[in-house]
Symmetry: C2
């Protein structure tokens, strides 16, 4: 479909635009291809007609379209090795055995956001993937207790509970034992339904005054559902990119970062490093998201890099690939 030179021109334009953020004109490519600018222009025209390039206005140079970036990522870019400098910073983290996996993940993504100037996000594992390991109920004073849930991934959730009436500590204790006996091993997102259908019918047999306690716990344990650890690296880095040069663009992306459905839009289910460009992200048309699920057996979640569509794909893909591998290696020890 595309001639060799056309592919090569597309590649050059994408890479030049990634570097400079300015539309690329035909003249600037003459030397590299040893043809006249008119020839380049002819090829550019074809590339534009096929949807790989765009113009900002009739007499501007060309910039890659989303289709163009996609073609570049899928067919043209050449994997570069991670630079020695970058490698050094990351190796330090993964060779430090006293860091927990979570700490290593957070630190490495912070480094990526630092060296790339993009924004990095880590989403902890979804509640459906966490099995309840222990429920702890700790009394604070007459009316208040703290409920703590610990999951098999080491994730901890807590919620303070206010009991309308003073309840005997022993009853609280019994409830706690019952919950542990019945709920350990349950995926976090099934806790509410098991509370309702398995605990509720029998709790009266064990615990006096059970209604107060049951209601309080039901509300507390249900509220964990959509809680999710989010860790940001370089949250405002993306604002440094020249594409965010209007007030509206900046406000818009910041609002999206703070919005409630950000988690669901960013979460990745695929096991490899994937690239989503512009509309493909379903998050924001102006950005590219490179992301992957990591899974160490004990622990899983999503790693994501958010940057402009004009992203340094070769570099970011390799960095993320490298980190994913090292996380999974470390996690399997």
């Amino acid at each position: 479909m595309l001639g060799d030179r056309q592919k090569s021109i597309l590649k050059s334009i994408v890479e030049e635009y990634i570097k400079t953020a300015r539309p690329v004109g035909s003249k600037s490519l003459c030397k590299r291809f040893k043809v006249s600018s008119a020839t380049i222009r002819n090829d550019m025209l074809i590339l534009e007609q096929m949807g790989y390039l765009e113009k900002q206005h009739i007499s501007s140079g060309r910039i890659p379209s989303e289709k163009g970036y996609r073609y570049y990522v899928d067919n043209l870019m050449e994997p570069k090795k991670i630079s020695g400098e970058d490698m050094l910073k990351l190796e330090k983290i993964f060779q430090n055995n006293s860091l927990t996996l979570n700490d290593a993940i957070e630190k490495s993504l912070e480094i990526i956001s630092d060296i790339t100037n993009y924004t990095a996000v880590i989403l902890g594992s979804a509640s459906r993937d966490n099995l309840l390991t222990k429920v702890e109920i700790i009394p604070l004073n007459d009316n208040n207790v703290v409920a703590i849930l610990i999951t098999d991934k080491g994730h901890v959730e807590n919620k303070q509970i206010s009991l309308n009436e003073t309840v005997d500590t022993k009853e609280v204790q019994k409830t706690s034992e019952l919950l542990n006996k019945m709920l350990v091993g349950t995926p976090l997102d099934e806790v509410p339904s098991r509370l309702e259908f398995e605990i509720k019918p029998i709790i009266g047999n064990y615990v006096k005054n059970y209604e107060v306690l049951y209601n309080a716990f039901y509300e507390a344990l249900s509220s964990f559902q959509d809680d999710r650890v989010i860790h940001w690296g370089g949250k405002t880095n993306i604002l440094k990119q020249p594409e965010f040069n209007t007030v509206d663009d900046v406000k818009n992306i910041i609002s999206k970062f703070e919005s409630k459905d950000m988690v669901s839009k960013i979460e990745e289910t695929e096991d490899e490093v994937k690239v989503y460009i512009g509309k493909e992200t379903e998050f924001d048309d102006n950005v590219t998201v490179v992301k992957t699920k990591y899974n160490t057996g004990k622990n899983e979640g999503t790693l994501a890099i958010i940057g402009p569509k004009r992203m340094d794909y070769e570099r970011v893909l390799n960095l993320l690939e490298y980190i994913k591998e090292n996380i999974e290696k470390k996690g399997n020890l």
Copy 2:
């Protein structure tokens, strides 16, 4: 110092500017004061010379200076009662007894941010004010445990710990018991030093292989130090204000919201509702922060509203006052 009409003119200008965000000209005040625009201008000139008013350029109307807002807040504004509508929304929260104090605080500040379109912040109590109530150590697998700290205010912190070598569960258990015996009742910020000077010298008597455990716990418990619960309401609300109409202003305030010393800049030590305008905030020259410490005996922290200097002071002050009172009433039950 200031004549009655001059005070009244200042009040009008502040209130008009709060409402419209546009400089106020002399003509627009003629009707209200039944004098000519020239007379108003003469007074404006005096107010400007005394530092209460400013001009954006030589032929613009006047806007209040920081000193002008300060004078308005201290001397001119008249406390308005909270509107019935606002009151209704807030009462619902404080009359719901099954909400914990923390939930009530969060919900009420979210409502304030909603109805005012400013940004609300809640800072949980500082670690120095939290006494350790319990340390829980929960094993996940051979190499990993979760350490959980519970404080008397119901605040929970947790940290996963990776042990380089496999350690006998019994030893972990003993360490946990020792930590509880020695540390319960300690303010959170004194935990590290007590670990070092009281636990370290004796832990060897109780626990085999204590070095691995001690080091891991030291690192984990020290990392809690500056952790602090921050809860935002309407974090991006402030961007809706017309004063944030350049890219730089938006980037600047967002960066400040994300910065590490945000907590220390916002924390309030005074027990009443206080107003900090512009430079007085020591946080950002373009904003006003209205804030107060709340203290229920069991629980304390800071409530803050961040908005433009052109803030609806009468309303915000009363809302915050109302919430503070209700929090403390509820907390003392």
